[in-house]
């Protein structure tokens, strides 16, 4: 039964179809860690990303084209060069970094105003939950003012990229939403 459905999706979407997904967020939030946890299933040692990393990965029979863009202040202005054709945005927040929650909120809302991202779904990872003092997902949601978002599917998931918790739950939700919306 499951096989039957997935091959039906393949036919509907065209086997070549790739989903473009952007991972955004402030520097040090855990974006690169999440990308490689998704791709190779392991925790890699990272350095601040000067520019971006792009990987193609298969997830549940889908081809995902995932872009992890650097989060430093100097690099954020270039995010917009990569917005076109984006199916979904994964926004990663360091839940322990209370001082920069407001900055993260500002960047998030600014980004979502972009014309090219009007049809993209949004998944927020309240990351680093393994750390003591991490804000819960609902606290992060409040700080980011997510309830204000209209006309867009969004979800916030508590995660720990290091422990591998929450990541696939989040992604599963995202894929479902995309399938629904694009079908």
């Amino acid at each position: 039964m499951g096989n039957y459905f997935s091959s039906m999706f393949d036919r509907l979407w065209g086997t070549n179809k790739e989903l473009r997904i952007l991972i955004l967020g402030l520097d040090g939030a855990g974006k690169t860690t999440i990308l490689y946890r998704l791709q190779i299933g392991e925790v890699v040692t990272t350095k601040p990303t000067i520019g971006f990393n792009v990987e193609t990965l298969s997830y549940k029979n889908l081809k995902l084209n995932v872009w992890d863009l650097g989060g430093q202040t100097s690099i954020r202005p270039y995010w917009r060069c990569y917005y076109a054709d984006t199916a979904a945005v994964i926004f990663v927040v360091d839940s322990t970094d209370k001082d920069r929650m407001a900055t993260a909120a500002k960047e998030l809302h600014m980004m979502l105003q972009e014309e090219e991202l009007q049809d993209s779904a949004l998944l927020v990872f309240a990351n680093k939950q393994d750390q003591p003092g991490a804000l819960s997902a609902s606290e992060v949601s409040k700080q980011l003012n997510l309830v204000e978002l209209k006309d867009r599917s969004w979800s916030i998931v508590a995660s720990s990229a290091i422990k591998g918790e929450g990541i696939s739950e989040g992604l599963d939700w995202l894929i479902d939403v995309i399938k629904e919306e694009q079908l």
């Binding site: 520019g51 971006f52 990393n53 270039y78 060069c81 076109a84």
Partner: protein, 945 residues
């Protein structure tokens, strides 16, 4: 059946470039597609690259948009596409903003990419990193340097070299790895596989790249370089790569040029290298030895055996099959021929056979070299060889040949007849553009001014030539010469006729020049008929249809009219018609541009031409000759000034334009022109200082003398300025420290013999603050109690150092700094500082005519060459060496130097005849001076050394 087909990319080989905007649009569309088609994208990038490599550029916003869309291609793992992406990034990095966005992706390829893309990724690093991001690539680059894969290691070494100016601190930490890479004989991975029969195991190019980097890292550490050379040359098999070996030779070249005393210890290695299996190593070694030996202070350090081997190596290379080797060897020989032709006479048979070499570069060089090694005996046969040859080479080569002939005429004035015949022949009969014809005219003019007996023959021939000359520029020059020299010949009326013909037949530019030339004949001595016919010709011309021509004729008539009166106007008119003085052009240029830019009263104050220096004809000739002599010198020492290791790889812009033949004389070279401008600038600056206004006019300024090493912390040079009653030392001081300013910078000059000093220091003008990398002047002024004072001064730089706050570039407020001193070289005032060089056609009779004589004999016990003595004498006396006596013979131990000059104070002439003999005990010099002024004569003769 017929079919028409059209393929979009079929005409890729055609010279039409694709349309820029189409390419741009295609790129933006295709690169942003999802998913992308690697093949299409690759083709598109190649078309984009073709545009860029043809010099097309994009405005910054478009280039940036292109860059970002290309960066998106990183999503595709196709290696061939990735390689193209890297090429595009390198090309766009110069035009686009924000190329650092590619950094992360590049680093990922360096770490995990395939062997195919790794080298490309590494090479592109240098284009995207900046000072703040370079360190993040350190670990990656370091491990790439020691990679076993030669192409990866090479790429990393070159990238490190390119990153050196961007982040020296990071790259400095690779020294050990780079050193290791020199000795590591890396092999291509396929070398043990199936293709190993067809491909070499390795070219060992990595060695070359590694050596280049190691040199850059250690270039300031002489001991480390010495160790490196020793290690690489002791084990002769270590370096396999040809270019690396050549590099090693260049490294030795650098070392011996920094410290010539090192030469003897390298001699055995050099001997070896002269017979190395690579021709390029032989050539580079020969180049090192000959250029080192061409500097006179080094010549005695080169053993005769070594030099002889060098020449015979070069001789051997003249007949090898490889064209480039023949050319390179010939080029070196040609350089030697400029100063010491006798050293290479043994190569004449080979040189002669190269005249028929199918490569024109080679045959031309062979001829010009032969022209130098030629002796009085074979000149005419050589000339006839060239006469046949010159008509079928291109203009560039013709110019080189004509130039060589021009030098020949200065060296063998007695051969002027055949030379003039040759020059006139090519002038009249050979095809060629303006530059070529102008070079002939240049040569002919030289002969006229330096070989007076040739004058009439040349002028008559030129008259013929202008009957049928297509170039205005040349016609005007010839008319000028006819006007200048014609009136003093035996039959001035001949020239008048020829000049007047031009007035009838030519355009207005030439008619104007002809009018000026004609008017000069009106002053021909004691020939009133000529004068009246000139007047009637000019009257006729004053009805010319062109206003410039009419004006000139009218003015000339007026001036001629004035000359018959017997008053002051007559003198002025004489001077205007036939001027005896010429403006100093650099100074004129400088003053005019200052006048134009400082216009305060809309030019109602006229330009003051009196403030511009003027020269007499002899002075102009003296300077001209001196310049030409120096030109030859500069050319011969050029080899040693080359940067030892020039590896700006990959950069398309670094191709230095190099002329085929550096000996071609194009008037003063840029350097000399600059030097003159600087001298004028210094003099102007000096005269604008309030304190010096009372000193009166500046009588003479010395050349710029350097008083420290060029690498010193403070680089100081000095200029001596002589006034009627004062002397001013100007010190140009440059602070090369990066984070320290100097306050109250002054030079303390102490007379070597304070007791009897005839100079009284009156004041010093210190520099208030000298910031890093700035050069400013400090002046020390003295009063002198007689016209000519000769003394030496020991000099000390005194200053207060103030550390700079790196943020504000201001000294720290609370830091008082501390006083310091720095010793610089002494400065000497000698007789030469009161003398200007001057030209005289006939030295012997001038010498005999001068009334006062003084003789002095010197014994020099140092081991120096005759040439060094000559050079010193020429500099110390400021006189002009005549009859080519500024070159010491190589086959004899004695020499006579002829010098001529005049007092800068009062214009009195002085001539020196200096005989020198070298023996095992040293050099004996007998100087015989003759002068109009007795004191000047004895000062000069007794103060030679």
């Amino acid at each position: 059946m017929s079919a028409q087909t059209y393929k979009k990319f079929e005409n890729a080989g055609s010279t039409d470039l694709p349309d820029k905007m189409t390419i741009y649009q295609d790129c933006m569309n295709k690169f942003n597609e999802s998913p992308i088609s690697p093949k299409r994208c690759r083709i598109l990038i190649s078309r984009l690259l073709r545009l860029l490599l043809n010099g097309e550029t994009f405005p910054e916003t478009e280039a940036t948009a292109l860059f970002f869309s290309i960066s998106k291609l990183f999503q595709h793992p196709n290696d061939s596409l990735r390689q193209m992406v890297y090429l595009a990034i390198k090309e766009l990095s110069g035009m686009s903003e924000d190329v650092l966005m590619a950094t992360s992706s590049i680093m990922k390829d360096i770490q995990n990419g395939s062997d195919l893309v790794k080298p490309n990724a590494i090479r592109s690093l240098a284009y995207v990193l900046d000072e703040s991001t370079a360190f993040s690539a350190e670990r990656l680059l370091k491990s790439a340097v020691v990679s076993k894969q030669p192409s990866v290691s090479s790429a990393a070494l070159i990238t490190s070299l390119n990153l050196l100016p961007i982040s020296e601190t990071t790259i400095k930490r690779f020294a050990n790895e780079a050193q290791e890479a020199i000795g590591d004989l890396k092999q291509f991975p396929h070398s043990s596989g199936a293709n190993s029969e067809y491909y070499p195991n390795s070219t060992f190019t990595t060695q070359y790249h590694a050596l280049g980097l190691v040199y850059q890292l250690k270039k300031n550490d002489k001991m480390a370089l010495l160790k490196l050379v020793k290690q690489l040359s002791d084990n002769g098999n270590l370096l396999k790569n040809q270019m690396a070996k050549v590099q090693l030779v260049k490294l030795v070249n650098d070392l011996v040029n920094r410290d010539n005393q090192l030469f003897p210890q390298f001699q055995p290695i050099l001997f070896n290298w002269l017979s190395n299996k690579f021709e390029s190593v032989q050539i580079e070694t020969a180049k090192l030895i000959t250029s080192f030996a061409s500097s006179h202070k080094n010549a005695r350090l080169v053993s005769p055996d070594l030099f002889a081997s060098t020449i015979s190596t070069l001789q051997g290379l003249l007949t090898v099959p490889r064209v480039t080797s023949r050319f390179a060897a010939l080029r070196i020989l040609n350089k030697i021929s400029m100063t010491s032709p006798e050293k290479i006479v043994i190569c004449n048979p080979e040189l002669e056979s190269l005249i028929n070499d199918s490569n024109r570069n080679i045959s031309t060089y062979a001829i010009t070299t032969l022209l130098k090694t030629g002796t009085a005996k074979n000149i005419s046969s050589l000339i006839s060889t060239i006469t046949k040859f010159i008509h079928d080479v291109s203009d560039d080569f013709k110019i080189i040949i004509v130039d060589a002939v021009r030098t020949l005429s200065l060296n063998f004035p007695q051969e002027w007849k055949s030379i003039v015949k040759f020059l006139i022949d090519v002038l009249k009969n050979s095809e060629g553009g303006l530059t070529f014809k102008n070079s002939i005219i240049e040569a002919i003019f030289d002969i006229v001014s330096f070989v007076p007996q040739s004058k009439e023959v040349v002028l008559e021939n030129l008259c013929d030539f202008i009957e049928d000359c297509e170039y205005n520029e040349i016609l005007v020059r010839v008319l000028h010469l006819l006007g200048k020299e014609g009136p003093f010949t035996s039959k001035p009326s001949l020239y008048v006729r020829h000049i007047y013909n031009r007035v009838v037949l030519e355009n207005s530019i030439i008619r104007s020049a002809a009018v000026v030339a004609l008017s000069k004949f009106a002053l021909t001595k004691n020939d009133s008929t000529l004068k009246s016919s000139i007047i009637s010709l000019l009257k006729r011309i004053s009805n010319d249809q062109d206003d410039e021509v009419r004006d000139r004729a009218t003015i000339a008539l007026k001036l001629i009219d004035f000359t018959s009166a017997d008053d002051e106007n007559s003198l002025i008119a004489h001077d205007l018609l036939q001027s005896k003085k010429f403006y100093d052009l650099p100074s004129l240029e400088n003053k005019l541009s200052a006048y134009l830019s400082s216009n305060t009263d809309s030019f109602s104050t006229p330009f003051d031409s009196a403030s511009v220096r003027k020269f007499t004809e002899d002075e102009v000739k003296a300077m001209d000759l001196k310049r030409k002599q120096e030109q030859v010198f500069n050319n011969t020492s050029e080899g040693s000034r080359e940067t030892p290791i020039d590896m700006s790889l990959e950069s398309t812009t670094s191709i230095k334009e190099q002329r085929l033949d550096t000996e071609t004389y194009h008037g003063a070279s840029l350097d000399q022109h600059q030097e003159e401008l600087v001298a004028t600038k210094y003099a102007d600056e000096l005269m604008n200082v309030e304190e010096f206004k009372d000193f009166g006019s500046l009588i003479n300024s010395s050349k710029i003398i350097s008083l420290t090493e060029q690498e010193a912390e403070f680089v100081v040079s000095g200029v001596k300025h002589i006034f009627k009653k004062h002397v001013v030392f100007q010190f140009n001081i440059k602070n090369t420290l990066t984070d320290v300013a100097l306050d109250n910078v002054a030079v303390v000059c102490t007379s070597e013999d304070a007791e009897s000093s005839k100079l009284n220091e009156t004041f010093t003008l210190p520099i208030d603050r000298l910031m890093p990398s700035i050069e400013l002047q400090c002046y020390v002024a003295f009063e002198k109690d007689s016209d000519v004072v000769m003394e030496g001064f020991l000099n000390n730089l005194v200053f207060t150092t103030r550390e700079l706050n790196p943020d504000t570039q201001e000294p720290y407020e609370d830091d008082e700094g501390f006083q310091d001193e720095y010793e610089i070289d002494p400065i000497y005032l000698n007789a030469g500082d009161y003398i200007e060089s001057s030209f005289i056609g006939d030295f012997e009779s001038a010498f005999d005519e001068l009334p006062n004589e003084e003789i002095a004999v010197y014994n020099i016990q140092e081991d120096i060459s005759l040439q060094e003595v000559i050079d010193k004498l020429v500099v110390n006396t400021s006189c002009l060496p005549l009859s080519n006596t500024q070159f010491a013979p190589n086959d004899s131990n004695s020499h006579t130097l002829k010098l001529f000059g005049k007092s800068a104070l009062n214009g009195m002439k002085v001539a020196l005849l200096i005989k020198m003999i070298k023996s095992s005990k040293g050099i004996v010099i007998k100087a015989q001076g003759r002068a109009e002024d007795e004191e000047l004569c004895s000062d000069l003769v007794n103060g030679l050394m």
